[in-house]
Structures are given as structure tokens and as C-alpha cells.
């Protein structure tokens, strides 16, 4: 009897799994007419991903969810890179393409499953502490902050110098909420911090209904100084710490500790990427079009029936939300400890530089600008340290770096006012035709 039960259960389990695979198979075939020969290798890929994650010490459920996400990403990539280019080809072409895919996926999965997503899979295991803690994490967080400001300034046309203030609100709010609501999950507290920052952003965005350009800049400057003063003045915000310093809570998500440099990097990445995807979709939506209409000419936008009030305030709210989340990440996954002064005016300028250098009104530009801001000083400092040390006194080297940095910023502004993103597009267009010119 027990033997029978064993066989029955085993068979059912196998059957259920096959039917799951088959459902996926049918779904693709019925929906797109593609006879997906790569289905089997995708199953293999999922299994290998899952097992590898488990081996890295991730809890079962987290590994499960991550594998699902990685499959989703793989599928999106396949569609984008391969299938999209084969639309309206004969079915046999598609079939052969999936056959080719199956080899690629299988090879990749077996050789190095982690190639799936360089950032998620590969880096955490080959990168070192220095790269995570000093370069990749600040790069990601500043990219996110750039995104926040870019939505407001690049897309909706509202100038702001209060970015750091909204980051501070996000950081302190999510910190404080951890104490007001014990047991609040970490990611939820990031979101809550963002929501509080959004509310504050709306309040300081109100003057934008009446004033524009440099005058608005000055009113956001007020936000910058007010928030910094408020957080320093009242110890309540830092949970009774008289000196106004807050420190990161334990970085636990679903019971897994993300406290190591690689863990902090992964946590940052998994917060930053979805927000970027969301923002990318947002600017293509009707709200994004409204923003751009308001940016280009708000009177004309009002005439064609775009609600100016709602559009501008939503820009402030969403921008501040993203900045708030960036602030929490800056405080908790990057530095670990911050004081209000860490979000001062120079941080706002830094974020502004990112979008000016990277490109206003460009999503990719935020990454490029942030990479530039984070990497250039370090590269210069290491280069000058190894090439010129001994020739010049240490202090002078630093001044030299400042000069180079400043000159590069100005050069960029003169040569390419639309930022690095535009430069990148130009290069890409040229590389596609190279060595021909037209």
C-alpha cells in the first residue's frame, strides 16, 4: 500500500511539474504563434538559478521568488533581443530561432547561470568590498536621486534645489517609523519614508503654481534650509539622539541579513531597478506627456485642457517620493549612519550636476551622470596618487583634481549641453554605420 502511495504521489508531482511546463508552452504558442523549442532549457535555467541561490545561503522562499523574477527578466530579454526582430517572419524561422536560443540558454545556464543579469548574479560574487561600498552603492543611490530630480526638472520643467532636503525627509522618516511601528518591514519603511517625502514635496511644490524658473529655485532652496534646520533642531526626528545622528537598523528582508557589502549592494539594486522601470514607464504614460507639455509651455498646456495644478503637484510628489527612497538608501545601505548635515546644499548641487551632465529628460542619463560624478574624482585621485605622488605635495594634488573636475564639467556643458545621454546616442548611431559615414 505504501509503495502504491509513493508511486502515486511521485507520479502526481512529476505530472504537475510537466503540466506547469506545458501550460507555459501552450501560453506562448497560443498567444504568439511561436513554437518555443527553448522551453526545456528555460526550465533548466530556472532550476540552476534556484539551486545556486540556495547554495549562496538564501532562504528557500527568497530564492524561489528571485528565480521567478530572474526568469521574468530572461523572458523579457529574449523578447526584446530576439523575438521582436523576427515579427511577421514565417513560423519556421521562429521555430529555428528558438532552437538556437535553447542552445544559448542551456550553454549559459550550465557555464555560468549568473550571466543572466550581470548586476544581480555575477557582480556580488566577483566584486570586492571596495567596489560595493565605495563605488557601486553610491552610484546606484545617486542614479536614483538623479532620476527623482530628472522627473521634476527634466520632464516637468520645474527647477529645484531641494533634492537633498527630500532625501533627508525620506531617510529620517523611514528611520523614525521603524521606532513608531516596531516590526515594520525594512522595504515598507523605505516606501513609507518616500511617501512622507512626497507629502513634504507637495507642500514645497505649491509655490510652483505661481512662480517659475529661478524664483522657484529660491523657494525650493528654502525647503533645503528649513528641513536641515528642523532635523537638527528637534531631537524627536532622530529618536531622541541629541546630536541628530541616525544609524541604520539591521538590514533584514524576509529574515535574510543584507548587512554584508554584497548584500547591501543587492538590496540597493533591487530597490533602484524597479523604480527605474516604473519611472521609465511613467514618462511614456499620459502623465509623462502632460509633464512635458507643461515643461514646454504651461499656458498652451492649460489651453488644451491639461490640469496644471494636478500635473505640477504630482511631479513634485513623485519626484520627492523617489528622492525620499534614495535618501533612505543613502543613509541605510550606503553610509549606515548620517546626520542632517549629510543632506546639505552641496548634496542638492551634486544631484543637479548629475542630471545636467547626464542629460535632462533622459532616464539613461541619470546612470551616466551618476557614474561620472562618483567615478571621476576617484579615478583622478588614484591616478594622481600613483603617477604624481612625490612630485607634488598631497594637498596640491587634491587641488589639481578639483581643477580637472571643474574643467571637465564646463567642457561638457559647452560641447554637449544635452548631456552624456546624447553623446551616447551619437556614438551608438555612428557605431551602427561604422566604417561608413551615412
Amino acid at each position: 500500500m505504501s509503495f502504491f502511495m509513493e508511486v502515486l504521489l511521485g507520479g502526481l508531482l512529476a505530472g504537475v511539474m510537466y503540466s506547469l511546463v506545458a501550460i507555459g508552452f501552450v501560453l506562448i504558442y497560443k498567444a504568439s504563434g511561436v513554437f518555443n523549442f527553448a522551453q526545456g532549457s528555460m526550465v533548466l535555467f530556472a532550476a540552476l538559478t534556484f539551486v545556486s541561490l540556495l547554495e549562496r545561503g538564501l532562504p528557500f522562499w527568497l530564492a524561489f521568488v528571485l528565480s521567478l523574477l530572474s526568469m521574468l527578466l530572461l523572458a523579457l530579454l529574449l523578447e526584446r533581443l530576439v523575438l521582436r526582430h523576427l515579427v511577421n517572419r514565417p513560423p519556421i524561422t521562429l521555430f529555428m530561432a528558438t532552437l538556437g536560443l535553447s542552445y544559448v540558454v542551456e550553454g549559459v545556464a550550465q557555464a555560468l547561470w549568473a550571466l543572466l543579469a550581470l548586476a544581480f548574479g555575477l557582480l556580488p560574487f566577483i566584486g570586492n568590498d571596495y567596489w560595493f561600498s565605495a563605488i557601486l552603492i553610491p552610484f546606484l543611490v545617486l542614479s536614483l536621486a538623479g532620476l527623482g530630480l530628472n522627473l521634476l526638472t527634466g520632464y516637468a520643467g520645474q527647477l529645484s534645489l531641494g533634492s537633498a532636503a527630500f532625501m533627508a525627509v525620506g531617510a529620517f522618516a523611514s528611520y523614525k517609523l521603524q521606532f513608531l511601528l516596531p516590526g515594520l518591514p525594512l522595504l515598507l519603511s523605505f516606501v513609507a519614508g518616500g511617501v512622507v517625502a512626497a507629502a513634504v514635496g507637495v507642500v514645497f511644490g505649491l509655490p510652483s503654481l505661481r512662480i517659475k524658473g529661478f524664483y522657484l529655485l529660491v523657494s525650493t532652496l528654502a525647503a533645503q534650509f528649513f528641513v536641515e534646520w528642523l532635523l537638527t533642531k528637534f531631537a524627536w526626528f532622530s529618536n531622541g539622539n541629541e546630536s541628530g545622528v541616525i544609524t541604520a537598523p539591521p538590514l533584514l528582508v524576509a529574515g535574510h541579513d543584507f548587512g554584508s557589502p554584497a548584500g547591501r549592494y543587492l538590496l540597493t539594486l533591487s530597490v533602484v531597478l524597479p523604480l527605474f522601470v516604473l519611472a521609465g514607464n511613467l514618462v511614456r504614460s499620459s502623465l509623462g506627456r502632460n509633464w512635458m507639455a507643461v515643461r514646454d509651455m504651461d499656458t498652451a498646456a492649460a489651453v488644451i485642457g491639461i490640469p496644471i495644478l494636478r500635473t505640477k503637484l504630482l511631479a513634485f510628489a513623485i519626484s520627492s517620493f523617489i528622492l525620499g527612497v534614495a535618501g533612505s538608501l543613502w543613509a541605510f545601505t550606503y553610509l549606515g549612519t548620517v546626520e542632517p548635515h549629510g543632506f546639505d546644499l552641496s548634496r542638492s548641487f551634486q544631484v543637479l550636476f548629475i542630471i545636467i551632465l547626464g542629460g535632462m529628460g533622459s532616464i539613461l542619463g541619470n546612470f551616466l551622470g551618476a557614474a561620472f560624478i562618483v567615478l571621476l574624482p576617484i579615478v583622478l585621485s588614484i591616478l594622481s596618487g600613483s603617477l604624481l605622488s612625490g612630485v607634488l605635495p598631497a594637498g596640491q594634488l587634491e587641488n589639481l583634481q578639483k581643477i580637472i573636475f571643474g574643467v571637465l564639467i564646463i567642457l561638457f556643458l559647452i560641447k554637449e549641453p544635452d548631456g552624456l545621454a546624447r553623446l551616447w546616442q551619437g556614438w551608438r548611431a555612428r557605431a551602427r554605420l561604422w566604417p561608413l559615414r551615412f
Binding site: 561600498s133 534646520w229 546630536s243 550606503y334 549606515g336 549612519t337 585621485s381 594637498g395 587634491e398
Partner: protein
Amino acid sequence: MKNHLHTLKGAVVLALGLAAASATAQAGGEQYFPLQSYRVGPYAAGGTGFFGGFIDYLQYVNIKEGGVNGVKLTWSECETEYVVEKGVECYERLKKGLNGAPAAATNPLSVGIAYATLERSTADKLPLITINHGRTDSTDGSVFPYVFPLQLNPYSEVSAIINYIGQKSGGLAKLKGKKIAVLYHGSPYGKETNPILELLSKKYGFQLVSLEVPHPGNEQQSQWLTIRQQKPDWVILRGWGVMNPVALKTAQKTGYPADHIIGNIWSNSEEDAAPAGAAAKGFISITTHPSGSQFPVLQGIKKTVLDAGKGNLADPKRFGTVYYNLGVVNGILNVEAVRLAQAKFGKKPLTGEQVRWGFEHLHFDDKRLKEVGALGLLQPLQLSCADHEGGGAVRFQQWDGQQWKVISPWVQADRKLLRPIIEDSSHKYAKEKGITPRDCSKES
């Protein structure tokens, strides 16, 4: 083809062997100090003095004694400009050591950077030295095993000042009814001691007037007008950078006598007093170490390092000033920690974890101070697992218009009174972070 491969293999093996050999050769004899220094930016005066003194002392030990027990000291600098992110980047870049020489300890001399690298230091097992500043509750070594606010933490600092005012008034009992104003920098550093001052004012019955000066502090008219109205007996100046000379000048303008202003540990350098010119004459401040170059260790540095043209200071006139001497004192404490740790773990380059043991067992009595030539420069101190501060004493000095003159013996802080407050705070931190404090009775 096969032959080719063989030669290639041989070359690779040889190269690897050479690399390994050179790495071990260096690791055999060097102990590395990562220096997160700042020589440009608003606080360059402090940075160049402190790191100048620190580096000169390390050079002195190398030249005079050939390092610590034959282990050469080595260092490299990374500019932070006193900016927190840069400090963190430098920390991450340098913590692994240099050419195989392991890092002994970090000394950022910045409250912000110290806070930001506090947890990293603990995770990386690398001591974080915050001499005369830092997080007060890190004095409790059972919760903060890798953090050392050596000599003087902020609470001890104000406690010693109040004790001195008590002495001046003829006993702490005479403080009753007195009025003391504190003018503090509007930053975490400036505000850190406010709760302690309130506690002391309740305990001794003096009236406390707290006045905040917003960063950076170049506008203080209204605060000093308040002081003129309130007529406090003493003003405690918790300044930083440009705020100090401005305070002294504004005090003169509003008619408050400079010799009743007491500067704290970051208002006590030549760079704080001299720019105020005549207004600074008579200004009193605390110090953990007198300025001056008469101490044997400084004479030694002058002879072997400065006179040989190897001094780190761009301006040799700053030799023996407050910041420079703080750097020397810091060097003495770091090197002594390495020396003590070597006695336990062997005469070789040590890991941060081993050097930490040395810091925790620092012990300077008059005899040992005389041996290193720092009697009167460095205060007697003894650290332990529970006490990462050690000293808690200051001397008072007065600006005569040209230089500082020491005017008091060592004045001790009321550390018994402060200890429970420090422990409250450190235990709260331990609870927040889920740290189980070490049992100090079991530490050797």
C-alpha cells in the same frame, strides 16, 4: 606548440613565485597606517597639523628605532576634505593594507567620517581611533570593541570645564547661583554635550544659558547681545573652525571679557585664537596636551626628521602647535598599541584585531611617559575592556596674544558621574543593533 606552452607555463610560475616572494618579503617587515587625511577644504588647518605630526612621529620611530621591534611603519594618504563619502571611499580603499602590510588602525579625525565607518570598522575588525572626539558612548568598550575615543570624550570635556570653573570659584559648592552660558556650533558635534550640561547645572545649581550658533558661525551678533543682557559669569565656547575667532571678536565688540571665555577641545588651537588678533588675548581653553616643542620626543623629531629635511609640515613654523602636537600624541598612542600587541602576539606585522588588543591595554604612567619622552605632553592614562577613553583629564591654557601658556595642572572630569549615562546610551545602541555586550570580566 607544446614547447611554447611549456615556456609560457614556466614563465607564469616564475612570475607568480616572484610576486609571492616579494609580497611575503614586505609583509615580513611592515605595519601599515591608512591615513584618511584632509589637507584642502575648510578644515585644512586642523588636517595638515594633525597628520603632519602623526606622520613625523611615524618617521621618527622608523629612523630612530628602525620601526617597532624591527617592523617598519608605513602609511599612505587619501584625501577626504572632511567630506563623509570621501572618507568612506578612502576607508574602503585603504583598509586592506598596502603591498601586503596589514592595516593597524584608522584615524579619520572627523566626527562625521567616524560615525559613518563605525560599523564598518567593527565588521572589518579594524580599530577606529577618535582621539579627543567621537561618539561618547563608544567609551563603553563592551558594546564598541573596535572604537576608541582616546584621552577625552565629549562628556568628560564639559565635566572637566565645570570642575575648573568650580575650582576658580573656590569649590564646586560655590557654583550655586552662578550663571554659565554655552555657545555651541549648530551640528551634532556642538549639541552632543547639551544633556550633560543640563545635568550638571541641576546637580550644582548653576544657571545654564544655551545659545546655538548656526553653521558655519560667521554671524554671532545676536547671540553675544543676549550674553551681554544675561551677564553670565563664564562662557563656554564649543566652536569649530571660523566660529572661534568670530566669537572672540564679537565678544570684544559687545564688551565681554575674553578671560572669562573657555574654549573647548576644538576651540583651542593657534588657528582659533590668532586670527582674532588682540581680541583673543586672555582667552582660556582646555587642552589634552600643551603646545610647545620643549618635550624630549619633539626635540627628537626635530633632530632626526625636521632637520634632515623630511618633515611633513609645509610651514615649519607650525612645529609644536596644538594640532601638530595632537598628531604626535596620536602617533605615540598608536605606536604604543602596536608595541603592546607585539609583546603578546609576536614581533611581526599584526592584524587590526591584534592591534585592538594593544589599544585596550594601553597604559601610560609617569615612568612610561618619561621613556617615550612625553611626560607633560601626554596625560597618564589606562584603558581596559570597559573603558576605551582612559584619561579624561585636561589642562587649561591661556592665549597671551602670541601663544598658549599652560595655566593649570591636570583637571579631572567627574567620570564616575558620567559612566552610568554613557552605559545607558551604549546599551540602548546595543539593543537597537542586536549586539550582546562583551563580558569584560572574562577579557584578558
